[in-house]
């Protein structure tokens, strides 16, 4: 039971070696009044066969609907090799590489990950990952306050087009340290952040400007103009990017004349399953001048005493186990397994595969938009370029339509009315390379019926 290998003879020999009569005696320092007799409230044990039956039934209950939801988590093809290798015990059941000599596999893999992420984002340095895209965004705000020594205000401009959950996580994470997040309005006709909205901050002390590309609506922001405006005023630029999109879109390191200062994002599209929200990985990159302000683990290559190359955790003087209350963050892990998966995924995709994936996802979304906007009462909310995700406007409330679609086995997208009520009956939809032309046609046909049903009701 409980994966405990002891025989009765073992136990007898062990308590004897300790010098007690029985195991219970080892707890004699705990005040008697605090001791509990049993764990009522926890069910009795299941064996592996029984748990398999239970979990199988629960998984089947959740079903396998056809999903067109994106909004920060994207369904992509994951090569079998990715998790086949990631779940090998030597990766799965190792820990943080504190003993570098016995952890070269994990360390070298992270170094390769850092290199790939830096190349993908066009940035100079990457860390070993944060918890997810939202927490990486929050840590980027905290980092910007440390890195921008010219600014005293701890004010961060955040476009309303940044993922609403990311904005909330940033507030939860950073507001206790006095950071102020100020929302930049977006153009409700265009779905992007107009550079003109920055004019009112002219001459003020601003620490950093966040820019998400593609933004939450899938629309492409004018990243060059936004970056140039900020950098000309000693305001740091925090880019939030989708890694798949970077196969096609200009990487943050090349935004404007001088590039972003910090770039973060959700690494889930790189070989990590949707899995109801996690575990994912947040990637985090910066220009080299800010490397000592990065939070989290960083792996470096160095030499051993015999002059051979090897890998080790480095710049640990930033971290909590050394700096305690003065650390850059309290984080002491990364998302190791998800990083392993992402590194293998990027290796298998390579430049060509990732470019094809991005292009196929975008092409499929264009077909989806073309098909759905033929349905009476459905139109595209924003003109102008988008990448693999877009907002539709319906002529009636979205929720009943989505419910009706869900009953037909289709998850039709994300209802935006709770997040952006000013957009009316707005629906965020996404397709990736995993969807076929037949899937798109099925959605179109079912939406037509669902809209008619909603009209009748």
């Amino acid at each position: 039971m409980a994966f405990i290998p002891h025989t009765q003879a073992d136990v007898a020999a062990m308590v004897d070696a300790i010098g007690v009569a029985r195991i219970e005696d080892l707890f004699d320092e705990i005040p008697q009044g605090l001791r509990i007799k049993s764990l009522a409230g926890v069910p009795t044990a299941l064996n592996e066969m029984e748990i398999g039956r239970l979990m199988g039934a629960r998984a089947r209950a959740d079903g396998a609907p056809l999903s067109f939801i994106g909004a920060g988590a994207y369904e992509h093809h994951i090569p079998a090799a990715v998790w086949g290798i990631t779940t090998r015990g030597e990766f799965y059941s190792a820990y943080t590489p504190y003993q570098a000599e016995a952890s070269q596999g994990t360390l070298q893999m992270i170094y390769e990950f850092q290199t790939m992420i830096a190349r993908l984002t066009g940035m100079e340095v990457a860390n070993a990952s944060m918890y997810d895209g939202a927490s990486a965004t929050a840590e980027a705000a905290l980092m910007a306050v440390r890195a921008n020594r010219k600014s005293k205000a701890a004010r961060i401009l955040v476009p309303a087009t940044v993922h609403p959950h990311y904005r909330r996580v940033a507030v939860t994470t950073a507001s206790n340290q006095g950071l102020k997040f100020e929302e930049l309005p977006y153009c409700t006709a265009e779905g992007i952040t107009p550079s003109a909205s920055l004019a009112r901050y002219e001459g003020q002390d601003i620490t950093a400007l966040m820019v998400q590309q593609p933004n939450f609506f899938g629309r492409l922001e004018d990243v060059d103009a936004l970056t140039d405006w900020a950098r000309a005023r000693a305001i740091l630029v925090i880019a939030i990017v989708n890694p798949t999109s970077l196969a096609l879109l200009k990487p943050p390191g090349e935004w404007g004349a001088r590039g972003a200062d910090i770039a973060v994002g959700e690494g889930q599209p790189l070989g990590v399953p949707l899995s109801s929200g996690g575990p994912y990985l947040g990637f985090m990159t910066a220009r080299m001048e800010h490397v000592r302000q990065l939070p989290g683990r960083i792996v470096g290559r160095t030499l051993d005493v015999a002059g051979r190359e090897g890998f080790t955790l480095t710049l640990q003087a930033r971290e909590q186990h050394i700096r305690r209350a003065k650390a850059t963050s309290n984080i002491c892990t990364n998302q190791g397994l998800a990083v392993t998966a992402a590194t293998i995924y990027m290796s298998l995709m390579g430049p060509q595969g990732l470019t094809r994936t991005a292009a196929a996802a975008h092409a499929r979304t264009r077909e989806l938009i073309a098909a759905l906007t033929r349905v009476p009462g459905v139109r595209l909310a924003f003109p102008g370029p988008y990448f693999h995700e877009a907002v539709l406007t319906l002529d009636r409330p979205v929720a009943p339509v989505l419910k009706s679609l869900s009953n037909r086995g289709i998850l039709g997208g994300l209802d935006l009315s709770g997040y952006f009520p000013e957009l009316g009956n707005a629906l965020l939809v996404c397709a990736t390379e995993t969807k076929t032309a037949a899937d798109v046609e099925r959605y179109r046909a079912q939406l037509t019926e669902a809209m008619q049903a909603a009209r009748a009701a």
């Binding site: 039971m1 409980a2 290998p5 062990m14 308590v15 070696a17 705990i30 605090l34 764990l39 044990a45 748990i51 398999g52 979990m55 209950a61 999903s67 369904e75 290798i85 779940t87 015990g89 990766f91 059941s93 190792a94 016995a102 596999g105 994990t106 070298q108 170094y111 993908l120 990457a126 939202a134 959950h165 996580v169 006095g178 492409l220 196969a247 200009k250 990487p251 949707l274 996690g278 960083i298 470096g300 160095t302 030499l303 005493v305 890998f311 080790t312 909590q320 002491c332 998302q335 998800a338 298998l348 390579g350 060509q352 595969g353 990732l354 292009a359 196929a360 092409a363 370029p385 419910k403």
Partner: protein, 491 residues
């Protein structure tokens, strides 16, 4: 152990690739609407390798690691116990993996039932009134806990309380967390026998006290015997008690933090509930709270209405400290913890605390008998204990780090070294309940053998390891001549 493996970039050849994995090429016209000014000039320089090359490369890299599946891994404070294979297999059923985080609750009742029951089981083992699952690591749970303490005081209009008390032996994350929550840290000393210095605590508390962060058993592996007195002092001063659950494995099924007087706790599911450590993560740091803090729990939670489960969000908990992750934390890790807890059941969970404690006390007794020094010889070990090699360092010039490195040659992952900071030349050893007596005996033999080497041919120990893919690495060089990304050598 294989000796080394070249970098994936060194395998790369222009034009090669795992093309079976790629989608068909899209019609270039589909990209015409992406403005040229926003396009990337050249494709990203990712490696160009075949599938078999990649598989071999990453398999070989895995073989350069020590892991629980391959080695005894007694890393103190990390609870490196066996990660049952079933937990991984059943958490990775295709329906669970494919489910989108924003999919409707109607297509997630199976998942939500698991998460709801996990919340309930964690309440039962911790003695708490409410549990939130979204924190994604122990440190993240700490953050949530201290943020709730702050929110609680603020909601009562008690705005002065911004001091967090921590014992000097605390995990580094405790003071770092307090700072992240905008608090000031006050360290208090501990007594010679390892308990919190109660007089110092009484002097430290006051109208500015937000709370105290404690690990029990402490980072020294010792149960805090005066915990009820500590709780009374802090509560009477108006502060709250935070339980760092790093060492919960020691007392699982024996005593509950809620009963000791703690108001808030984080539980490292990757320790006590055996989800994988994954080379550094992902973990999960669920938080539990007493009744006073329930309204401040981070969202989302899972609620039950009749036979249906649903997410509870900001609308249900208007005083919540808010959201900590984009969606629902490390859901897949939570599923693994759920499966583990169901496999153990209440009987198994009581055995965990018992056998983890048995193994630690046995190993401590054996090492003492073999001549090693422990700093607290009159105390019971919790699930872990400290050996100090101060004497060996002084007399033989062989340090705790040297012993740690030499252990690798003997096929054992090293214990935690040089933590806690207040015991010189320390090894913090946590065997966990899933190791057999045979393994513990072999570890004692290795330690004795290394001691003999230290006496007879110390260089063998001080230059260890000798059998790993690399020897000791130059950390100073790593930090001064930063090499954080690979660049091709110019021809």
């Amino acid at each position: 152990m294989p000796q080394r493996e070249q970098l994936i970039f060194e395998y790369s050849r222009a034009g090669r690739g795992a093309s079976d994995q790629w989608p068909h090429e899209a019609d270039p016209a589909a990209l015409a609407d992406l403005p040229a000014a926003l396009r990337r000039a050249a494709p990203p320089q990712l490696p160009e390798v075949g599938e078999l090359e990649a598989v071999r490369h990453f398999t070989r890299l895995s073989q350069l690691n020590f892991s629980i599946d391959t080695h005894f891994y007694p890393l103190g404070s990390c609870t490196m116990k066996y990660n049952p294979k079933a937990c991984n297999q059943y958490a990775m059923l295709p329906e669970f993996l494919a489910r989108h985080p924003l999919a409707p609750e109607s297509s997630g009742q199976g998942l939500l039932a698991c998460l709801y029951e996990l919340q309930e089981m964690l309440k039962a083992v911790s003695g708490m009134e409410g549990v939130a699952l979204s924190p994604m690591a122990g440190a993240h749970g700490e953050f949530a806990g201290v943020a709730m303490i702050r929110a609680y005081h603020r909601a009562r209009g008690d705005l002065k309380r911004n001091e967090i008390i921590v014992p000097e032996a605390a995990h580094g994350t405790n003071p770092a967390t307090a700072t992240m929550c905008g608090c000031v840290v006050r360290e208090i000393p501990i007594e010679p026998e390892g308990d919190v210095d109660v007089a110092a605590l009484e002097a430290a508390v006051g109208p500015n006290t937000a709370g105290i962060m404690l690990t029990n058993p402490s980072t020294l592996g010792l149960f805090e015997r005066r915990i009820e007195e500590v709780a009374r002092i802090v509560h009477e001063a108006g502060g709250l008690l935070y339980y760092d659950g790093a060492n919960l494995n020691a007392i699982l099924g024996k005593v509950r933090p809620g009963d000791m007087g703690f108001d808030v706790i984080h539980m490292n599911l990757h320790k006590t509930f055996s989800t994988p450590h994954g080379g550094g993560g992902p973990g999960a740091g669920a938080v539990g709270v007493g009744a006073r803090l329930v309204p401040f729990l981070p969202v989302p939670l899972v609620g039950r209405e009749g036979e249906r489960y649903r997410w509870l969000t900001e609308a249900d908990l208007p005083q919540s400290i808010g959201r900590l992750s984009a969606f629902m934390g490390n859901t897949g890790v939570l599923l693994r913890a759920y499966i583990y807890m169901r496999l153990l059941g209440r009987e198994g969970m009581q055995s965990v605390g018992e056998y983890a404690t048995l193994n630690a006390n046995y190993l401590m007794a054996r090492l003492r008998a073999a001549g090693f020094d422990v700093p607290y010889p009159r105390r019971r070990a919790g699930h872990e204990f400290i050996v100090t090699l101060k004497r060996q360092a002084r007399e033989l010039n062989v340090t705790a780090m040297d012993f740690a490195k030499r252990l690798l040659d003997y096929g054992f992952h090293a214990p935690t070294t040089y933590f806690p900071l207040l015991v010189p030349e320390c090894l913090l050893i946590e065997p966990t309940e899933t190791e057999s007596k045979d393994v513990l005996d072999a570890f004692v033999s290795a330690m004795s053998q290394i001691q003999k080497e230290a006496e007879q041919e110390p260089a063998r120990v001080t230059t260890a390891p000798h059998t790993m893919p690399v020897r000791r690495l130059d950390d100073v060089r790593a930090a001064r001549q930063l090499d954080l990304t690979w660049k091709p050598t110019p021809p």
